[in-house]
């Protein structure tokens, strides 16, 4: 099966005067249905790697192929469109837009893609929210629901464009253990039901163990 994301010799060096090389040649592929844990010590470069995989940042050297196409030559607009349609994100902090309702937050990626609200968007966002157990909270603002609910809304938003891969950077880092387990179960269900690939950065070894694959960053390399 061909890889959705194919990282070849990715390096990342921060800074121009004082250079910090964080990643030293990463090779990694993510395919449909993958459920991958990325671990490593604080400061090891997990977020850096996820940003590059998520087309949020560019590598210093190396190539990132998305569905077999190299992204090196693409301009910002093409990258933005590709990112919006292929990738979904869940962050440690929910980052829902406080001015929008939960439903509008989930519609946001769809509207951004088409440039306006289209028929059916509202319904499919409602479906996604029902699926994460927030069918009763559509009209609520993010600050009117609990932390666990917010994070589930953020997951629904990540699913909005039916992405092939969802990148989650410590998605349960801000949650208590009960909510945390709920969220993980949800991610697993989505993975099983839709075949959506997940790359999850986590510090929690117990959680990592439940994943299909675990990669660890040590000294900027994967082990």
């Amino acid at each position: 099966m061909s890889a959705i994301l194919d990282l070849r010799g990715i390096t990342k060096t921060y800074g121009t005067r004082i250079k910090t090389q964080v990643l030293h040649g990463i090779d990694l592929t993510v395919s449909r249905g993958d459920f991958l844990a990325i671990t490593g010590q604080s400061g090891s470069g997990k977020t850096t790697l996820l940003n590059i995989m998520g087309l949020l940042d560019r590598s210093t050297t190396g190539n990132l192929l998305v569905n077999g196409t190299d992204t090196a030559g693409m301009d910002d607009e093409a990258i933005t469109a590709l990112r919006g349609r292929t990738l979904g994100f869940v962050f440690q902090f929910h980052h829902l837009l406080p001015a929008l309702t939960i439903l509008e937050n989930v519609m946001m990626p769809m509207m951004a893609d088409k440039g306006r609200e289209m028929p059916g968007m509202r319904e499919s966002a409602t479906e996604l929210l029902k699926r994460v157990g927030l069918g009763e909270r559509l009209k609520y603002k993010p600050d009117e629901v609990s932390g666990g609910q917010r994070q589930r809304a953020a997951i629904a938003r990540a699913l909005a464009m039916r992405p092939a891969v969802i990148l989650a950077d410590e998605p349960t880092g801000n949650l208590d253990s009960v909510s945390s387990a709920e969220v993980f179960t949800l991610l697993r269900e989505i993975n099983k039901a839709d075949g959506t690939a997940f790359c999850i950065v986590t510090h929690d070894a117990a959680i990592a163990k439940t994943c299909d694959r675990i990669v660890e960053i040590v000294d900027g390399r994967l082990v």
Binding site: N51, L56, R85, F89, F93, A99, M108
Partner: protein, 403 residues
């Protein structure tokens, strides 16, 4: 609704207090502009109206000597022109009925009247006064200068030896309608009967001008059948100078516009206008800075949100638009409110500054098109003010702000 408009409105509505704050700033700025504009243009209109109330827009004059502007006493502003040529027989316009037809047909001209001007001494008993004599056709003349409307006593008609005298001259000589006065020239003295006393709102004219029928003037000034001046009225008063130059070329008769005669007044009006534009400009700069600074803060506060929008597929150009739209909406709504406030202020001012007779001192009024211009300017200012924060927002790099 485009996505950018949707988000822009969500932001404006979410930060109601902040939105209200910058909209008020915009409204106040526009109110000042509207008020100032109304005041200045009303003032200028009344000055110009008063000037043109006793003066033809364009004069074609056969005399070689150019009329010199005459200052009103105690006032630097030129208010009228008079040709003083002693008792010499003035130069005449030949073939004038045809000439008048040609001038009337010329574009931009809405009314034409013949006139014979000269000088005489007006005598009443022992008192004499030097006056300017104008021979006119009452019907055509009043289409140039509203003399018929300016009659304060008597009737607007010149039959036989009838004469119109100005209010100040009449007061000075102690005469009124029905009294007789004599006009004396080198050729002798002729008696006239006062049929009307007029008030053209201009002291100099009221004191120094008398009007008789064209035929009487021709006899009195020794120019039978002749005129030496064609008075005209134009449609667009500020086009007068341009039209005058063209008429001069077309007719070969020396032509002078009210604008040339009142160049001092026009310079004063122009510098008044430019200082008011300058004030309006700086008011809008202040408004722009207010809008810009609030939006800059808003961009800083929303860095993470903008990063999220970008991460989920929002293009840079759309992020830019989200903030430009906020500036435009603030400008549009703020200025609409400002137009109402400014008009209210102007009307209040107009109603509180009245002449003794109860008429407003300033004829302040606004056209719909003027409001449209103010609203367009303010909207543009809003967009320009938002362009800096918008560019700042578009530069936000999602990898740096979202964790």
């Amino acid at each position: 609704m485009p996505f950018s408009v949707f988000i822009a409105f969500k932001y404006l509505l979410d930060e109601k207090r902040q939105t209200l704050f910058i909209m008020s700033a915009c409204a106040i700025g526009v109110a000042v502009m509207v008020f100032l504009y109304g005041l200045i243009s009303g003032l200028q209109r009344s000055l110009v109206d008063r000037t043109l109330g006793s003066q033809a827009h364009i004069i074609l004059n056969a005399n070689k000597e150019k009329p010199r502007p005459l200052a009103e006493s105690g006032n630097d502003t030129a208010v009228m022109a008079r040709v003083e040529r002693g008792f010499d027989r003035p130069q005449m316009i030949s073939d004038w009925p045809r000439r008048i037809e040609a001038v009337a047909a010329s574009s931009g001209i809405v009314a034409v009247a013949p006139r014979l001007t000269g000088a005489a001494l007006l005598r009443r008993g022992d008192v004499t006064r030097p006056v300017g004599v104008s021979g006119i056709e009452p019907d055509s003349f009043t289409t140039i200068i509203p003399l018929a409307k300016s009659v304060v006593a008597g009737r607007y008609d010149l039959v036989g030896d009838e004469i119109f005298v100005g209010k100040d001259l009449a007061d000075d000589l102690g005469v009124t309608v029905g009294d007789r006065v004599a006009l004396q020239t080198r050729g002798g003295a002729v008696n006239f009967l006062i049929s009307a006393v007029f008030d053209l709102g201009n002291r100099s004219v009221n004191e120094n001008q008398v009007f008789v029928s064209l035929r009487q003037a021709q006899a009195l000034l020794g120019a039978p059948g002749d005129i030496n001046q064609i008075d005209t009225r134009v449609g667009e008063i500020f086009e007068a100078e341009k039209i005058a130059r063209r008429l001069e070329k077309e007719t070969g008769i020396e032509t002078i516009s009210w604008m040339e005669q009142n160049s001092q007044l026009l310079i004063a009006l122009r510098s008044q206008s430019s200082s008011s534009y300058l004030i309006q400009f700086f008011v809008m700069v202040a408004v722009a800075l207010g809008i810009a600074s609030v939006l800059v803060v808003s961009v800083v506060q929303k860095r993470a949100e903008i990063g999220i929008l970008r991460a989920f597929g929002t293009k840079r150009s759309v992020v830019t638009r989200i903030f430009l739209i906020q500036g435009a909406v603030v400008g549009l709504l703020g200025s609409t409110v400002g137009c109402f406030i400014g008009t209210g202020l102007a009307m209040f001012f107009r109603d509180s500054a009245k002449n003794p007779d109860g008429t407003p001192r300033f004829p302040i009024s606004y056209e719909l098109s003027e409001y449209v211009v103010f609203i367009l300017i303010a909207t543009l200012v809003g967009i320009i003010a938002a362009s800096l924060p918008a560019r700042q927002a578009a530069r936000i790099d999602p990898a740096q702000v979202v964790h």
